[in-house]
């Protein structure tokens, strides 16, 4: 069940009404119901997966209680390490074992790859709820939060269905207090939630899925494509992955708000960044901050000599690449971004653009465009099936065929698509300024807002056809 499905459109109102009308008298009852709904949501993918989720959640709960019980003793640390190892082991078996076994077989044994492979299907959401489980025990170890005695609270934090499959990766110290406190529903919160869901749905269904039609067609036959087509594909994929993932995040955050939970934003208009460092402060914020707090800072962060900072940064990007998938392309993508970061560290400009104010100076516009293209090249590595394919694409882009007219798919695709993309970019800029394009501070007339909502709903409905799975479900 994905957010942009009819099944979810039925599931959500039922859960919402029961949550606020049947279980609202007791926060504990609401949490228990949320836990039930979250497992039902997950079971819709495959009921067998709920066993894995439950197992990891119980490990986090038990280890958390043990850490707190033995706080101050060495053994407490061992329980923390145990939980981390358990989570990483599970992730390794499902996500990385086949890759490393295959490479080992190929390189060392010169043998058949298949014999060593487990060929397990990667459980959807595992990469995300593993991180939630790990941060839970780490924060207990650091005494940032107490261990939850109420097992329902702990399990609900890990399994919370709006964030279960693709984040945002909410931190325990931010989310668990919300689980323990009474939630209230206000009209403004509800309206804000629906606006965010609508915008997320628009980004996913209209922008991302539309770009995917072109991108997937091109990637199905790379050798036949011209440089200009491949360049356009790179740009469209850059847009697609942003619209897909930020659209999902918007829907996840919006749905969470409907149940009274606030989440930090997961994207902050990353393509309006002046350098790669700023981009990484604005892209998939919950993940990058997780790596920063649990890998980069423990390694010394930037309070160590420059060469160590470079190494720490490299480690974080390598882990980030690997987290996204078991393929050399993801690792290369991580290394690529690490290399882009190094000059910024050496020149001391990695923290230059901590403000969010971009004026329209020619210099800034150039910086934004350059950063965009650097990121787009990275996304090409990310999307390619192999390093070889990436180099084929790059060499074709850099050939004479770059100056040919690109393949435009069908007229009935490219005219509306490019028009909508153009409008979307303007709307994103307005979003940046007003927090949401549907904001009452931007569109004061309620009648006009209702008309605009309906226009967006109709556009979404028209495009609700070629459903593509969310890109980040693959991770």
């Amino acid at each position: 069940m994905v957010f942009n499905s009819i099944e979810f459109a039925i599931f959500l109102p039922v859960v919402f009404l029961m949550y606020w009308f049947v279980f609202s008298r007791s926060t504990k009852a609401q949490n228990a119901f949320l836990l039930f709904a979250s497992y039902a949501f997950y079971a819709f993918w495959d009921w067998k997966l709920t066993g894995l989720l439950l197992g990891l959640s119980l490990c986090a709960y038990i280890n958390g209680r043990a850490i707190e019980h033995y706080q101050g003793h060495r053994i407490a640390r061992k329980f923390g390490i145990l939980n981390i190892l358990l989570c990483i082991s599970v992730l390794f078996i499902f996500k990385y074992y086949d890759f490393f076994a295959g490479e080992f077989s190929r390189v060392v044994l010169h043998g058949t790859r298949d014999k060593l492979l487990l060929k397990l299907v990667m459980p959807v959401g595992l990469s995300f709820y593993v991180l939630r489980s790990i941060s839970y025990t780490i924060e207990i170890s650091k005494r940032q939060i107490p261990a939850e005695k109420d097992i329902v609270t702990c399990l609900t934090y890990i399994a919370f269905f709006p964030q279960l499959l693709s984040g945002p990766i909410a931190r325990p110290n931010q989310f668990i207090p919300q689980l323990k406190n009474k939630r209230t529903f206000t009209y403004e919160k509800g309206a804000e939630s629906l606006r965010q869901i609508l915008w997320g749905l628009f980004k996913k269904v209209v922008i991302a899925d539309n770009c995917a039609i072109y991108v997937d067609s091109v990637f199905n036959n790379i050798p036949a494509q011209s440089g200009s087509t491949l360049l356009m594909t790179a740009l469209l994929y850059t847009l697609q992955i942003y619209a897909d993932f930020s659209g999902y995040s918007d829907m996840a955050i919006g749905v969470g708000k409907l149940f009274g939970f606030n989440s930090l934003p997961n994207f902050n208009y990353p393509y309006f960044s002046r350098n790669v460092a700023e981009f990484w402060r604005k892209w998939h914020i919950s993940l990058t901050s997780w790596f920063r707090d649990y890998i980069y800072i423990p390694l010394g962060g930037n309070r160590v000599p420059t060469f160590r900072v470079v190494i720490n940064t490299g480690v974080v990007f390598l882990v980030s690449g690997l987290w996204h998938g078991a393929n050399w392309t993801f690792i290369t993508w991580g290394v690529y971004h690490a290399l882009l970061f190094v000059p910024l560290i050496i020149t001391g400009t990695s923290r230059k653009y901590k403000d969010d104010i971009i004026d329209f100076s020619f210099r800034n516009i150039l910086k934004v465009i350059l950063t965009f293209f650097l990121v787009a090249i990275g996304w090409l590595i990310f999307r390619s099936e192999s390093i070889g394919q990436f180099f084929t694409i790059i060499s074709t882009i850099c050939s004479k065929s770059l100056f040919s007219i690109p393949w435009l798919y069908e007229r009935r695709w490219y005219i509306p698509t490019f028009s909508i993309i153009f409008v979307f970019i303007i709307l994103e800029w307005l979003n940046k300024k007003y927090n949401t394009v549907f904001s009452p501070s931007l569109i004061k007339s309620p009648v006009l807002r209702i008309i605009i909502y309906w226009v967006f709903l109709i556009i979404i409905f028209i495009y609700f056809g070629e459903k593509q799975s969310f890109i980040y479900f693959n991770f």
Binding site: S5, I6, Y187, Y453, F461
Partner: protein
């Protein structure tokens, strides 16, 4: 909360419910209500999901006619007329067209599984296939091609009906439909069906056949279409049958063996004259035996003459009759 729900209901949910109700009452694609004859009545209808029609018609009449002989395939299978097929079947055979638009191998397999699970007799079967059908391990998207939910344990129930609702709300269709309701003129999205027989779920192209007899069917525009159509008898496409398709064919075979079915596989003669990939033909021959598989793809007497076709994608019943004479 009350204010929120009232506004949400009145501004969004209520209009959606009204639209959905109008759609359900009008049921233009005949997927909401049951009909004894899906093409019956005097109304103009849009193209329907033939897979859905086939299944519903079978369920309506199976206890009356006790079907035991089935023609499977895509729209090209329609020209295999039951009265011609019956000449090759036992006298007591009761045939039925169990087809779908742009049928997939997956859809064919699911229909067979459905018959098997519902303890139908499958004494005779005719499979009309081509590379495209063999390649498709899943149905095409869209309201005309979606597999009927009952065949897949209702796993696509919501998307099946949502696709039909979307088709109903297509601007061009709505405009045409409203115009038809007021003027009685069908327009480009609707037509009056005349060649359908519910008993066999058979749909004949009556108007085209009449025009062919009159000599008015093959006009200049149509002939030009045939002449300019790309044909290449040396073109060999990629193999259609891969692992998934092989598994589906194995399932089909096991059901045919279980029912001791007398079957034939007909590889359709297509106007493009592309022969079936030799590896696909080899797989079919090995699985179903060379005596039961008849390959009419590529260049032959049928594909040489455009008069054997209504248009480049569909051949005529005369071809089907000749093919059945050869196969039996």
């Amino acid at each position: 909360m009350r204010n929120f729900l009232i506004r949400l209901s009145s501004l969004f949910i209520l209009p959606v419910l009204i639209i959905v109700s109008i759609y359900a009452i009008l049921d233009p694609f005949r997927v909401v209500k049951h009909y004894d004859d899906y093409y019956g009545g005097e109304q103009a209808i849009p193209p329907l999901n033939e897979g859905h029609i086939s299944l519903q018609t079978y369920e309506t009449y199976k206890d009356t006619y006790h079907y035991d002989s089935f023609i499977f395939g895509n729209s090209r299978s329609r020209v295999y007329e039951v009265e011609e097929w019956m000449k090759h079947l036992p006298a007591e055979a009761s045939p039925f067209h169990f087809y779908a638009l742009s049928e997939s191998l997956y859809g064919m397999m699911k229909k067979l599984q459905y018959l098997d699970e519902h303890e139908a007799e499958i004494n005779n079967a005719l499979f009309i296939v081509d590379e495209n059908l063999l390649k498709q391990d899943t149905n095409l998207k869209g309201h005309l091609f979606a597999i009927p939910p009952k065949l897949v344990n209702y796993s696509n129930f919501t998307s099946f009906h949502f696709d039909n609702l979307r088709a109903f709300l297509d601007f061009g269709f709505i405009k045409c439909y409203i115009k038809y309701l007021f003027t009685g003129k069908p327009g480009e999205y609707l037509y009056f069906e005349s060649g359908y027989t519910a008993h066999y779920n058979e749909d004949k192209n009556v108007e085209a056949d009449e025009n062919i007899e009159k000599g008015t069917f093959y006009d200049t525009a149509l002939i030009e279409e045939f002449i300019s159509y790309s044909r290449d008898s040396s073109y060999i496409s990629e193999p259609a049958i891969k692992t998934k398709q092989q598994e589906m064919l194995n399932t089909i075979k096991s059901i045919l063996e279980k029912h001791n079915t007398d079957y034939r596989f007909i590889i359709s003669p297509l106007y493009d004259q592309h022969p079936i990939n030799p590896s696909d033909l080899a797989i079919l021959n090995e699985l179903f035996s060379e005596e039961k598989v008849f390959n009419f793809s590529g260049k032959n007497e049928f594909t040489d003459d455009f008069h054997n076709f209504y248009e480049p994608l569909h051949y005529r019943p005369t071809v089907a009759t000749a093919i059945m004479d050869i196969a039996y």
